[in-house]
């Protein structure tokens, strides 16, 4: 019984440490799908698409890339990011 407060403290500590890592884990998981709208991202996508074998995924990726470039030209950053994200997903298929 005398050790109970210590056990509670330890349990709390374990729980705090465990949950403290959750946002970081989620952030790392999200990083994979992080899309930027700039020339570097567009060029990286072009390189990825060049390396793909012909097929539906490549066609989709190309179309999304073109749409991203059009959005970029219109200063529609969010639209551009969305298309880049879709293109990135297509390159991973």
């Amino acid at each position: 019984m005398r050790k109970l407060p210590l056990r509670n403290t330890s349990l709390s500590l374990i729980l705090i440490v465990s949950f403290a890592g959750v946002p970081l884990t989620l952030a790392l998981g999200h990083e994979e799908h992080h899309a930027e709208c700039n020339d570097t991202a567009i060029n990286a996508l072009k390189a990825d698409i060049q390396a793909m074998g012909e097929g539906e995924a490549k066609t989709t990726a190309r179309k999304e890339l073109e749409a991203a470039q059009q959005s970029m030209a219109k200063n529609d950053t969010e639209g551009c990011k969305n298309h880049i994200h879709s293109a990135m997903e297509a390159t991973e298929k």
Partner: protein
């Protein structure tokens, strides 16, 4: 000067002008060799075609060993692949690495199916490919070890993440394999 002579002079002049323009462009550094700016599609197609035809013609006479489906070879190849190749060519369940994202041309993801024959894969692994980041493993590894890698590559597209991880976990360590074989060309393997 005859008509034919005039025509040849014109052709020669045009060729010289073209060569001069190419020389100026090369010397002025007009073409961007940065790896983060892809080739234009025609240049990419040209390099890809040169590469594919070069590999196909050189791999034509390579004799493929019969026992590429031997589990021992696949296991040996898995260990080597995990150590030497996966950082660029990735593996089932593996996320893209910083190297794989920055290489240009992109290193092919070998978990995907390929049109390459076993002989072509062996040639590439052994000799490497100029200006792609693909090293010539034949400089440091003998043919038997390289065929083990090819045996694994033939199997790779069928593997799930779990199967891949089990194979790698149980594979002989690369350093052990190298020590066992006492370095390169110690066992009288026939080299292509």
């Amino acid at each position: 000067m005859s008509n034919a002579g005039r025509r040849w002079s014109l052709v020669a002049g045009a060729l010289l002008t073209l060569l001069g323009a190419v020389a100026v462009a090369v010397y002025a550094g007009i073409y961007n060799v940065a790896a983060d700016v892809p080739h234009t599609q025609p240049v990419y197609w040209l390099f890809e075609t040169v590469r594919d035809r070069s590999i196909a013609s050189r791999a034509r006479d390579i004799v493929v060993p019969n026992e590429l489906s031997d589990p021992a070879r696949i296991s040996s190849g898995a260990g080597q692949y995990a150590e030497m190749c996966s950082v660029c060519h990735l593996a089932p369940g593996m996320k893209r690495t910083e190297i794989s994202r920055g290489l240009y041309p992109r290193a092919p993801e070998l978990r995907r199916k390929t049109d390459l024959t076993a002989a072509e894969q062996f040639w590439i692994v052994k000799h490497g490919v100029k200006m792609t980041g693909m090293p010539a493993w034949g400089v440091t590894h003998d043919d038997k070890l390289l065929w083990d890698v090819v045996a694994f590559l033939r199997k790779l597209p069928e593997l799930t993440q779990e199967q891949y991880e089990v194979l790698v976990k149980n594979a002989p360590k690369h350093e052990e394999l190298m020590q066992e074989r006492g370095g390169r060309h110690q066992h009288g393997d026939k080299h292509e």
